[in-house]
Symmetry: C2
Subunit: 140 residues, 2 copies
DNA sequence: GTGTCATTTCGCCAAACGGCGAAATGTGTT
DNA sequence: AACACATTTCGCCGTTTGGCGAAATGACAC
């Protein structure tokens, strides 16, 4: 059905959601890690992840208080794999994506408990622009 | 740039525009032919075609009063070819697309001058649901 | 049970969007 | 120049969407 195509096409047509998919390409992430890199409100990230999940592009698991998301492995939407492949093949040299990756490396280097307590200020001081602070998260 | 990706991604995330691209895959079409198949207002089709053109997915030529659109041959947007390929590979069995193709064959069988004068009523009577009538167009 | 924490849902807001009719534009005919 | 025709642009309208803060929910610790 064209509506199925539309669902996943619309999910990948938003820049924030594309950035999330590119981050997840490096492996499973906790919501707060995505929140820190994208510098968006947790509510916003949660809404975006819900849209990606509904489109069959990502899967979720819970571990206590924490929610982890990863790129979909199972075929949940007939077009999901095609769109994921295309997103994966594109934007390899995009500056926004490159900056996100740089921040993600920093984020992964910080124990999540510290990251969640301090948000971006937990990262190397010279590494981050002045942006919103967020809530804590546990050790990975 | 991610904005370039976004432009073409958004252009292909609308069902009407996907239907237009699938119609154009069969060859160049005049605006009124697309209008007749999609049963949309000419203004709406024109707006959609403008978005596809801005995204580098289609090209236009004029012939007197008439405007023809075709899928882009030149690389006008770094992601256009990828998206066109994907749209081309998908929805092969979609009922909406199949119906559009059926109507297109009928539309192509009618001289454009007749088509433009009578709109859908120029098609075989048993072939079309009761829908809007549109303005005329010339012999192809 | 109470309080803390991470996430999700809800409601609001401004912006974007797809549809339409009307007006404007460009082309062709007389 | 006036008129007809095909298309495009404009403006309106209702709907959708991405952002946020606040409230709700679920998990954990005491």
């Amino acid at each position: 059905m064209i509506e199925t195509f539309e669902l996943v096409a619309k999910a990948t047509a938003d820049p924030s959601r594309v950035r999330i998919l590119k981050l997840l390409a490096a492996g499973e992430l906790c919501v707060c890690q995505i929140t820190t890199v994208l510098a968006l409100a947790p509510a916003t990230v949660s809404k975006h992840l819900a849209a990606l999940k509904a489109a069959g592009l990502v899967q979720q698991r819970r571990d206590g208080r924490w929610a982890y998301y990863r790129l979909a492995e199972r075929q949940l939407n007939p077009y999901a794999a095609r769109f994921l492949a295309m997103v994966g093949d594109c934007l390899g040299d995009d500056p926004t994506i490159a900056e996100d990756r740089r921040l993600l490396a920093l984020v992964r280097a910080v124990p999540l408990q510290v990251l969640c307590a301090q948000g971006r200020s937990a990262l190397s001081p010279a590494a981050t622009p002045t942006l919103r602070q967020d809530a804590p998260c546990p050790t990975e």
